[in-house]
C-alpha cells in the first residue's frame, strides 16, 4: 500500500479520507534507550553510576554520576589532629592506603621543615612500592574479570595475599596500614623482613608471567582491547588525567621522576608509556609498572641504611607553623595531592585532596560515546579507579 507521506492520507480502500499520522519516513520509529549502569553494577567496583544513552548497543552519550560514596573526608580532617588524619586519609583510596598517608605526612613535614631520618625514607619507598604492586594486582585481575576471564582475578588475590602478609609483618595491618608518623614511622622493620621481601620479589616476578600468558598474549584479549577507547595525550592532559592513564597516552609524567620525593631520585627506574592510549596500552602500562616497582624494591634492599626511624621525641600535639603547603605524590592510580592550610593549631584549617580517580573518571564522557556497550566495560575496567577515591 502506497502511503502519501506529504498529505498523510491513505489512498484507496475503506480507509480513504482518514487522516493518518506518518512520523518520519516509512521506517520504524526508534529512540535512544537510557540505561543506568550502576550505582549497583558488577563492574563499577562499587557505587559509580553511569547514565548512558544507547542506540542498540552503541553509546551516544555517557555521564558519570558521582557522590554515592561521599564521606566528607576533607571536612572531617578539619576536626582531627594531625596524628588522626593519617588514619583518615588512608581510607579514601583503600587500595593504596600507604601511599595516601605518605602524601599527607610529607605535606606536614614540609610545612614544619622536619628532617626525616634516611632509614625511614627508604622504608617508606619500599612500602609505597609494595602498596603500588598490591593495588596494580587488583586491577590486573579485575580487568580480566570484566572481560570474562575469571582466572587472573584469583591469581591476583593469591599474590595479594602474599604481599599483605609481608606488609602485615611490618605494619600490623592488612588494608589500612597507618604505618607513617609525622617525622618517620610507627616502628622499625621486624627481623627477617628484608629476606622475606627479597624472596617475595622473585616470586611475584616469576608469577607475573602467568598474567602475561593469560591476558597480554591472549588473542581474544587483544581483540577486545587493542584500538578500543583511544585517549589522545592532549585530551588526557585537558581532563587532568594522571598515572597509568596519562602514561598509556604517551606522556611520561610521573612525580617520582619529575619532582622526586623521599629517595626516589636515588633509584633507577623507567616510566613505561603506551603508544596509542587504548585499553590494551593502559593495561600494559599497569603491567610494566609492576615490574618497575619490583626493581625499585630490589634497589631499596641494597641501599637500606641503618639508623633511627624517628627524628627524636616528637610532641604529642603537633602544631605546624601558620602557612600552606601542597605535596604531591605518585599514587598507584595517578597523582595524589594534598593542599594543607595551617593556622598554627593542632588541627589543619583546611585539607584539600586532589585524588587521581576523580580526574580519571571525569574523562569518561569524552571517551565513551561512539563505543559499544561491551566496550564500555573494557574501557571502564582500564580507567583504573576506586569509587572511594572519586567521591572522598
Amino acid at each position: 500500500m502506497a502511503v502519501d507521506v506529504k498529505s498523510g492520507i491513505l489512498p484507496g480502500g475503506p480507509g480513504e479520507g482518514v487522516e493518518v499520522l506518518v512520523s518520519g519516513s516509512a521506517d520504524l520509529a526508534t529512540e535512544e534507550m537510557l540505561l543506568n549502569i550502576g550505582p549497583q553494577h558488577p563492574s563499577t567496583h562499587g557505587v559509580l553510576r553511569l547514565v548512558i544513552a544507547l542506540d542498540g548497543e552503541m553509546i551516544h552519550s555517557a555521564e558519570p554520576v558521582v557522590g554515592y560514596m561521599h564521606r566528607g573526608f576533607e571536612k572531617m580532617a578539619e576536626v582531627r589532629d594531625y596524628r588522626q588524619i593519617i588514619a583518615l586519609v588512608n581510607r579514601h583510596d583503600w587500595l593504596s592506603a600507604f601511599c595516601n598517608e605518605l602524601g599527607v605526612v610529607l605535606a606536614v613535614e614540609k610545612l614544619m621543615g622536619l628532617d626525616v631520618p634516611l632509614r625511614a625514607q627508604w622504608i617508606r619507598v619500599m612500602m609505597a612500592e609494595w602498596n603500588r604492586i598490591l593495588n596494580h594486582l587488583m586491577f590486573l585481575g579485575s580487568f580480566g574479570l570484566e572481560l570474562g576471564a575469571m582466572t587472573p582475578m584469583f591469581y591476583a588475590f593469591r599474590e595479594r595475599e602474599d604481599i599483605q602478609e609481608l606488609m602485615e609483618a611490618a605494619t600490623g595491618a592488612r588494608l589500612h596500614f597507618t604505618y607513617n608518623r609525622i617525622g618517620g614511622l610507627k616502628e622499625d622493620l621486624p627481623r627477617g623482613f628484608m629476606q622475606h621481601s627479597a624472596a617475595l620479589v622473585k616470586k611475584i616476578r616469576h608469577r607475573m608471567d602467568d598474567y602475561a600468558g593469560l591476558l597480554l598474549g591472549n588473542e581474544i584479549f587483544k581483540q577486545r582491547t587493542v584500538g578500543i577507547g583511544k585517549l589522545p595525550g592532549s585530551v588526557a592532559k585537558e581532563f587532568g588525567c594522571s598515572g597509568p592513564i596519562l602514561q598509556a597516552s604517551g606522556i611520561a609524567e610521573d612525580s617520582r621522576k619529575t619532582e622526586p620525593y623521599l629517595t626516589y631520585d636515588q633509584c633507577e627506574f623507567e616510566v613505561p608509556i603506551g603508544v596509542q592510549g587504548d585499553s590494551f596500552d593502559r593495561f600494559n602500562v599497569l603491567f610494566q609498572r609492576v615490574h618497575q616497582s619490583l626493581s625499585i624494591i630490589e634497589q631499596v634492599h641494597d641501599k637500606m641504611p641503618a639508623g633511627p626511624i624517628m627524628p627524636g621525641k616528637m610532641p604529642k600535639n603537633i602544631k605546624p607553623p601558620e602557612g600552606w603547603i601542597y605535596a604531591r605524590t605518585e599514587n598507584p592510580l595517578g597523582e595524589c595531592g594534598y593542599y594543607l592550610v595551617s593556622k598554627g593549631g593542632k588541627e589543619p584549617w583546611r585539607l584539600k585532596m586532589r585524588t587521581p580517580s576523580f580526574s580519571n573518571v571525569s574523562m569518561l564522557p569524552a571517551l565513551l560515546p561512539g563505543n559499544l556497550l561491551p566496550d564500555l566495560i573494557a574501557i571502564l575496567g582500564s580507567v583504573f579507579f576506586v569509587v572511594g577515591d572519586v567521591d572522598r
Binding site: 534507550m33 540505561l35 553494577h41 558488577p42 563492574s43 548497543e57 580480566g144 574479570l145 570484566e146 572481560l147 570474562g148 576471564a149 575469571m150 582466572t151 584469583f154 591469581y155 593469591r158 593469560l214 591476558l215 591472549n218 581474544i220 584479549f221 581483540q223 577486545r224 559499544l372 556497550l373 561491551p374 566496550d375 564500555l376 566495560i377
Partner: protein, 335 residues
C-alpha cells in the same frame, strides 16, 4: 511358571505405555542428574585451576553434595515476579528453555544395541532443530522481565543464533553425508573402522566452537555476560525458575558433548587395543572429556564481542564448513 511370567511380561511390561513411561523416567532422571555431575566437576576443576579448593563442606568428602544443597536452596528461595513483568510469559519462559533440553536426550544413543530412548531416522536433525527452540524461551524471558539488561541479553542471544546455527548444521551435514544416514545410532555404527574426527577434523572444530556459542559458554557467553549485563535474560529470575535455566545450561553441555562424540568420536566405538571396555562407558568417557574441555575454556578465555563472533562465523567458519561439505561430497562420489 515361566509361561506365566512370560505372560505377565507380555501383558504389562511390554505394554507400549509402560515402556513409554519408563523411557520418560529414565530421560528425565538423566536430565536431572547429568547436569549435577558436570556442575560439580566444573566447581572443582575451576577451583583447582584457580589456586583454590572449591566446595569442601557439603557431604564431607570434597563437597560432593554441594549441588544437591544448591538445589534445596533454590527451592526454598522466594519466587519473585517483577511488577512490570508480563506474568504469563515470564512464568512459562523457563519451561520453553527446559523442555527442548530434555527432548534432546531422547535421541542421544548411550551405547550399542538399544541404549537409547528413541532411534529416529532423522535423529541428528531432530536434536539440532529442537535444541534451537530454547532461544525462543530466552527471548521470551528477556522481553517479559521488563528489564533493560534482560532485553539486551535476550537480543544478544537471538543474534548469536544467526552466527552459530549455520556452522553447526553445515559441520553436521558433512558427517551425515559421509555416514549416509541421519540416525544417530546409524552414524555411530558407521564409524566402526575409523572415527570421523580424522577425515572431518575441520568439521569437528567447527562443531565444538558453534556448540560453545549455542550453549552461551565462554568465550561466547555474551548473552549472559555478567560483568556487562548482569545475567542477561536470567537477571530477574529467582528460585526454582532460575534453577531451571541453570539446569538447562549444564544439560546442554552434556547433550551437545554426547552428540559431538557420536558424530565425530565414534560414539560407543572403542579404541583398537582396549576393546573390552563396554560401549556405554566409551560414550560417557568421550562426553566427559568434551565437557571437561568446555569447562577448561571457561577458566582460560575472556569473552568475545557479539559482532566479533558474527564476523568469525560468517567470514571464516561458514566458508570452511562449505568447503568441508564440498570435499566430503567429492570424496563420497570419487571413492
Amino acid at each position: 511358571m515361566i509361561a506365566v511370567s512370560q505372560q505377565i511380561f507380555e501383558q504389562y511390561i511390554n505394554n507400549v505405555w509402560i515402556i513409554f513411561g519408563l523411557k520418560i523416567v529414565a530421560v528425565v532422571g538423566l536430565f536431572l542428574t547429568a547436569p549435577m555431575v558436570v556442575g560439580y566437576v566444573e566447581h572443582k576443576t575451576l577451583a583447582h585451576m584457580q589456586a583454590r579448593l572449591g566446595p569442601m563442606e557439603a557431604g564431607k568428602f570434597h563437597g560432593w553434595a554441594q549441588l544437591i544443597a544448591d538445589g534445596v536452596k533454590f527451592i526454598q528461595k522466594e519466587d519473585i515476579t517483577p511488577t512490570a513483568a508480563d506474568k504469563f510469559v515470564f512464568t512459562i519462559a523457563p519451561g520453553i528453555v527446559m523442555v527442548p533440553a530434555i527432548l534432546v536426550f531422547f535421541v542421544v544413543p548411550f551405547g550399542p544395541n538399544g541404549w537409547w530412548a528413541e532411534n529416529l531416522d532423522v535423529g541428528v536433525f531432530f536434536a539440532l532443530a529442537i535444541s534451537s527452540i530454547s532461544v525462543i524461551g530466552m527471548l521470551a524471558a528477556g522481553w517479559s522481565s521488563a528489564n533493560k539488561f534482560s532485553l539486551i541479553g535476550a537480543v544478544r542471544g537471538a543474534a548469536q543464533l544467526i552466527a552459530y546455527e549455520l556452522p553447526l548444521l553445515l559441520a553436521t551435514a558433512a558427517v551425515v553425508m559421509q555416514a549416509g544416514t541421519l540416525s544417530l545410532p546409524g552414524i555411530a555404527a558407521a564409524q566402526s573402522h575409523y572415527w570421523y574426527v580424522l577425515p572431518q577434523f575441520a568439521g569437528f572444530m567447527l562443531f565444538i566452537i558453534a556448540s560453545l556459542a549455542e550453549l552461551s559458554r565462554p568465550p561466547f557467553d555474551m548473552p549472559i555476560a555478567d560483568s556487562e549485563i548482569i545475567f542477561g535474560h536470567m537477571t530477574e529470575y529467582t528460585g526454582v525458575k532460575f534453577a531451571f535455566f541453570l539446569l538447562t545450561e549444564y544439560a546442554g553441555i552434556v547433550s551437545l558433548s554426547a552428540i559431538a562424540s557420536v558424530l565425530f568420536l565414534g560414539g560407543w566405538q572403542p579404541l583398537p587395543l582396549i576393546k573390552f571396555v563396554p560401549g556405554p562407558l566409551w560414550i560417557l568417557g568421550k562426553t566427559g572429556i568434551l565437557s571437561f574441555i568446555v569447562i577448561w575454556l571457561r577458566a582460560t578465555y575472556p569473552r568475545l564481542r557479539e559482532d566479533q563472533l558474527q564476523k568469525m562465523a560468517w567470514k571464516y567458519m561458514i566458508p570452511i564448513a562449505l568447503l568441508d561439505i564440498l570435499l566430503t561430497g567429492i570424496f563420497k562420489v570419487v571413492f
